[in-house]
Symmetry: C2
Subunit: 193 residues, 2 copies
DNA sequence: ACGCTCGTGTCACTCGGTGTCAAGGCGCTA
DNA sequence: TAGCGCCTTGACACCGAGTGACACGAGCGT
C-alpha cells in the first residue's frame, strides 16, 4: 500500500521527465522543473532517482539480469551465436513491443551525450555479466581466455548496431531481421571451434 | 612563444591533477585543489579543460584519428583482421611505451565510473571513425551493411579486453601477445568471405 | 489521546561549470 | 619612450546538480 504510492510517484516523475526532456532537450530542463511538474519537491526527486540521467536510464538496470537469465535458460548444447542472439533479443523485443514510446526514449538516449555515456556504462556491466555466464556455460576460465568477454562484447555490439539502425531510420523496421543480419556477421567468431 | 606557455600551464595542470587524483581518488579532489596546486585559478583550469574528467582523458582525443590513419595506411589487400590489429596496436604500444605512467592513468580511468564513461564515449567515436574508414576501404555501404560497424566494434572490443587485462594484472604483461590472442578470437568474423 | 515511524518539504551547503569584467603583460607603432 | 590594442588571467557573481540536517504531518498501533 505504501509501495503502491512509491510506484505512483516514480511513474509520475518519469512521465514528467520524459515529456519535458523530449521536447526541450536534456540540458534545458532542470530537476526543479521535472519535480514541480510531477507535484513534488526537488529533494523528493533525488529520493527516487540518483541523478538526472537515472530518471531516463534507470529502466536499463534490470535488463542486464534479464539478458543473462535468458542466456542461462538456453539449452546447453546450443551454439553460442544462437544462444546470444536470443539473449540479446530480450531487450530488443521489449523495445519494439513498447511502440514509439520506447523509440523516443532510445533516440533521446542515443543523441544526448550524458545519457549515452550512462547507457554505455550499463552495457559494460551487461557485458561482464554475459561474459561470466558464458564462461560458466562453456566451462572456460575468464581470467585467461579472451573468448567470453569478446563474445559478450560482440553480442552487445550487435545489439548496439541494431538499436542504432532501428532508432536512426525514418521509421523503425522490425528489429528481428536486423538482429539476424547482425549476428550473421559475428557468428563465425562466436561459433569458431 | 605564447603557445609554449599554454603548453606549459597545461602540463602543470595535468601533472598536478594526475598526482592528486591518483592518491586521493577522483571524487575527493576538487578543481580548486588542482588549480591551486598548479598555481592558477579555478577559472583558468576551465580555460584549458572542459571538465574535471577532461584533464585525465583529453589525451584520448587525438588517438581516434591516429587509429584511423594507421588503418588507412595499411596495404589495400591486407586482411581486415590484420589491418585492424595494427590500427588498434597504435594506442596500445603508445601505452606500453610510456611505462607505468600510462598504467596508472589507465587504472584510474577503468576504476573511476565518471572517467570510464568518458572513455567509452571516446571509444564510440573511434568506432564510428573506424567503421567509416573500413567501409571506404572495402567499398561497402555503411547504411545497409552491418559489417563495418561491427568489425570496428570487435576490434575496439579486443582493444578494451587487452587494456583491461594489461592494467588488471599485478604487473603488466606485454600487450603485443595479448593483442594477438584477442584478435585470434575475432578474426574468423573479421575475415569471413 | 499518545507516541511511533515514515515520507516529504525546507533550508543551507558544496562543488562543477559559465559569463562578465577589470587588471596586467606584451608587442606594435608613432 | 609614450601610447595603443591584444590576449591571458583572476575575481566575482551566478546557475544547477546533488547532499545533509531537521522539522512537520499523515498514518497507525496502543
Amino acid at each position: 500500500m505504501a509501495e503502491r504510492k512509491r510506484q505512483l510517484v516514480s511513474n509520475e516523475l518519469t512521465e514528467a521527465a520524459l515529456q519535458l526532456l523530449a521536447t526541450k532537450g536534456f540540458d534545458a530542463v532542470t530537476i526543479d522543473e521535472i519535480a514541480t511538474a510531477a507535484g513534488v519537491s526537488k529533494r523528493t526527486f533525488f529520493r527516487y532517482f540518483a541523478s538526472k540521467e537515472d530518471v531516463v536510464v534507470q529502466f536499463l538496470a534490470g535488463m542486464g539480469a534479464d539478458i543473462r537469465a535468458e542466456l542461462a535458460s538456453r539449452p546447453a548444447g546450443e551454439r553460442p551465436s544462437v544462444a546470444l542472439r536470443y539473449a540479446v533479443g530480450v531487450p530488443l523485443t521489449t523495445c519494439s513491443d513498447h511502440g514509439d514510446r520506447a523509440l523516443r526514449v532510445v533516440r533521446l538516449i542515443l543523441r544526448t551525450p550524458a545519457l549515452h555515456a550512462r547507457f554505455l556504462e550499463h552495457q559494460a556491466r551487461w557485458r561482464d555479466d554475459l561474459a561470466a555466464e558464458l564462461a560458466d556455460r562453456l566451462d572456460l576460465d575468464p581470467g585467461t581466455d579472451f573468448y567470453p568477454r569478446l563474445a559478450a562484447g560482440m553480442a552487445l555490439n550487435a545489439f548496439d548496431a541494431v538499436l542504432h539502425r532501428w532508432s536512426g531510420g525514418d521509421r523503425p523496421e522490425d528489429p528481428t531481421g536486423l538482429t539476424d543480419r547482425a549476428f550473421a556477421v559475428i557468428a563465425p567468431a562466436l561459433d569458431a571451434t
